[in-house]
């Protein structure tokens, strides 16, 4: 059982795309998985055509137990379930603030689900607030999509510093290159630089491809409508590597 959080301080780097496709790959290989959408935008649920039940919101989520479990919904794929988000999730921080001292409340909320699923994926909103800290403690691995640009790499460095400063295990931090465009010099150079230092970058990369973009129109994991595309194969490769982690 492992919890993978798809996280980045930046928006639009491919977190949700990765969460959706990786969860699908996990189930395709025979496991069971739960995808928790923590982003009030609700993109992950959108890709699976799932709407949250009307009464579901921050309060029920934070109550946990049955209140949370009753709002989990099955996707079109057996073995893959999803916990949708709600607009009120934009204030999740408020609820988390007074629950526990050591920022492990989210971890506690997810504990009952550990028995039921082989993997839990957390699709996170792009900021470094209290919720993020709860995510860092709940997750076994924090997976960071990184677009190979100078700016992205700087943000990435900041995250590592944050981990160090707050006594978080840096071993949890794992990155991969996202939306890679080989024809761009900057992308090639950034990847080459990291290649020399290696660090915690996975070797699988997700290329920039219109197939992934079209998920918004198909409302399915890319493997379902483009089973042999570069995007599909890239996520499969990425999942194979993540599976090795735990």
């Amino acid at each position: 059982m492992s919890i993978f959080a798809l996280y980045s301080m930046k928006g639009g780097v491919g977190k949700t795309a990765a969460a959706v496709n990786l969860a699908y790959e996990a189930v395709r290989s025979g496991a069971t998985a739960l995808l928790c959408d923590l982003d009030p935008q609700g993109a992950a649920a959108f890709y699976f055509r799932i709407r949250a039940k009307k009464k579901f919101g921050r309060k029920r989520f934070l109550k946990g137990g049955k209140h949370l479990e009753n709002n989990i919904r099955g996707t079109d794929f057996e073995g893959l379930d999803l916990l949708p988000s709600a607009m009120s999730f934009r204030n999740l921080d408020l609820g988390l603030d007074d629950r526990t001292k050591n920022k492990s409340y989210l971890k506690r909320l997810l504990t009952p689900m550990r028995k039921e699923y082989d993997y839990i994926f957390l699709d996170c909103p792009p900021n470094l607030t209290l919720l993020a800290e709860h995510v860092f403690r709940a997750a076994d691995y924090v997976i960071v999509p990184c677009i190979p640009t100078t700016l992205s790499m700087l943000t990435h460095q900041k995250l590592m510093d944050f981990f160090k400063k707050n006594g978080l295990k840096r071993k949890k931090l794992v990155s991969f290159f996202s939306m890679v465009e080989q024809r761009k010099t900057m992308h090639r150079e950034m990847i080459a630089q990291v290649g020399e230092r290696k660090g915690k970058f996975l070797s699988a990369q997700i290329p920039y491809t219109t197939d992934v973009e079209r998920m918004g129109w198909a409302r399915q994991p890319v493997a379902c409508f483009k089973p042999r595309s570069k995007g599909t194969l890239a996520y499969r490769e990425l999942w194979t590597e993540l599976q090795m982690l735990g």
Binding site: S29, G30, F48, N71, I72, G74, E78, G79, D81
Partner: protein, 523 residues
């Protein structure tokens, strides 16, 4: 053997929360039904055609636990019958046909553990084989999201067909499931079916649960002693005949065991139910069945020793264990001979004549009979049972720490007789009370049975030590002798312990509660 464990397939793992319902369709083209429902948003997602083989023991041990063992292609898995198509645990991959296998011939894992506790010493037989075509559909909502799963299954065997349709809920969309279910229940062409498994088996000409070693009689409360006795004996006759094939084929040891128990029960009925059948006939058949029973003894003894092989070895320190190799290899070759002797007995005209004349006798017994043949069975049962009960109480109370072993052996036989009487006539008395009686009896019978088995085993080993070993030229003769000596000592210790427990086992049996039950029911 290539055995690899793999995770359940895409649709394999059982979600925690699912509702399901299965319908039998009254016409074979299930697709029409689906169309008739005018489910405009129905998405075909899968279509699988497969040969499905169902395995169970001769006495349906899996079925009795609500389980079915299935081999489809290379996949082998257990299914809870009430759950429909979900595997109970992860399936395993096995290319070979699993007919004839025992639980220990499966790769280690959950499946094997379940089989172990369910099958015990019995072998798996192929019970039915069918062809199945399963079409999976998603029922979509306005967002084109799957909210209910629907499976249309077409099963066929030997030119017979059955079409079934299963609905399964998707987590969080239970309301959609309930709505669809309500619509299905209103259709004339679909009927809710709880017995899909049985129907599928029937297609292949197989009736689950059609054999049990237990006497499942349902005697008429008004039956005369003669009618009831003939019914009991007819049932035992059928058990003998049903087990012949398995003894010949040597699928497992329990065919012979059940065959023997049926003989013993038959003899016991002939001896104990007095005055009901004609005396000449009773004398004749009692003798014939005694001889038949005797011809099965050696094979059964050998079966028991061989089944105990692991337990015997475990009783000895590692250093002495090789000393048993000679003993067991001898037992194995002796068993081969004993089996062929047994099969010969079954092939002989004497045996066939006995079975035929016995069946004829039981059928024609209506006209003749003993002096009590018209007395109600229930009255006879009460008389015989209460008499035997009093006798056991008296004998048991006389047994102390220094009573010779023979008294215990004697008591064991009396208990067995009582147990048989209770089983013969159980259906004439209230079920719950009979259940209690048997419960009180079990501890005592187990105690006496263990005591007896342990003493027979010691005798057998002593005989080997006295008769076989002195003539042997084996190089490991000394080691053999030591191992046998060690075993005898261990068995003796156990027997002593069992004997010490006798008093408490008997106390339950002779306790106030039990005595009152016997009084209420049989006096």
């Amino acid at each position: 053997m290539t055995v690899t464990k793999m995770r359940s397939s895409h649709i394999g793992v059982r979600p925690m929360i699912t509702r399901s319902e299965t319908y039998v369709l009254s016409e074979p083209h299930g697709r029409d039904v689906v169309e008739q429902l005018a489910l405009e948003r129905l998405l075909p997602v899968s279509e699988i055609v497969k040969t499905v083989r169902y395995f169970d023991t001769f006495d349906w041990r899996l079925y009795q636990k609500g389980l079915a063992l299935i081999q489809a292609g290379n996949a082998v898995y257990l299914q809870r019958i009430s759950d429909g198509e979900y595997p109970l645990q992860d399936q395993i991959e096995m290319k070979q046909h699993i007919e004839g296998r025992f639980w220990w011939m499966f790769p280690e894992g959950e499946l094997r553990d379940t089989l172990r506790s369910a099958l015990s010493v019995r072998a798996l037989l192929l019970r039915a084989q069918v062809r199945q075509k399963v079409c999976g559909f998603g029922v979509l909502n306005a967002d084109e999201k799957t909210v209910v799963r629907l499976f249309l299954t077409h099963t066929s065997a030997e030119n017979r067909h059955v079409a079934t349709l299963a609905l399964r809920s998707v987590r969080g969309y239970e309301r959609d499931f309930e709505n669809l279910r309500r619509r299905f229940r209103k259709l004339d062409v679909a009927h809710v079916a709880e017995d899909v498994f049985e129907r599928v088996m029937n297609l292949a000409g197989c009736v689950p649960g059609d054999y049990s070693s237990k006497l499942n009689l349902n005697l008429n409360h008004e039956a005369s002693g003669r009618e009831a006795t003939c019914e009991i004996l007819k049932c035992l006759h059928d058990v003998m005949r049903q087990n012949e094939t398995g003894i010949r084929a040597d699928w497992d040891t329990e065919f012979l065991h059940d065959f023997r128990v049926a003989i013993r029960r038959t003899r016991s009925a002939l001896t104990q139910i007095k005055g009901v059948l004609s005396e000449d006939a009773v004398a004749h058949f009692k003798d014939a069945f005694r001889q038949l029973g005797r011809s099965t003894n050696r094979l059964r003894d050998l079966d028991v020793y061989l089944l105990e092989e692991e337990a015997y070895r475990a009783m000895l320190p590692q250093s002495l264990q090789p000393g048993l190799d000679a003993v067991f290899s001898r037992l194995k070759s002796e068993r081969r001979r004993a089996l062929s002797d047994m099969v010969q007995v079954l092939d002989k005209p004497e045996y066939l004549n006995l079975m035929d004349s016995w069946a004829t006798f039981l059928r024609g017994e209506q006209s003749r009979g003993g002096k009590d043949s018209a007395v109600p069975a229930i009255a006879l049962a009460q008389k015989f049972i209460f008499k035997r009960f009093k006798q056991i109480l008296k004998k048991g109370q006389a047994i102390g720490d220094h009573t010779p072993d023979e008294a215990l052996h004697d008591l064991r036989i009396d208990c067995k007789k009582l147990r048989y009487l209770l089983e013969f006539f159980a259906s004439l008395f209230p079920k719950d009370k009979m259940g209690k009686l048997i419960g009180y009896m079990k501890k005592l019978q187990d105690n006496l049975g263990d005591f007896n088995d342990l003493s027979v085993q010691q005798q057998e080993l002593m005989a080997y030590l006295n008769e076989v070993l002195p003539r042997s030229r084996r190089a490991d003769r000394l080691l053999c002798a030591a191992a046998i000596g060690g075993l005898i000592a261990r068995l003796h210790d156990r027997q002593q312990a069992v004997r010490r427990e006798f008093a408490s086992a008997f106390a339950t049996f002779s306790g106030k509660k039990n005595v009152r039950l016997y009084r209420d029911l049989f006096r």
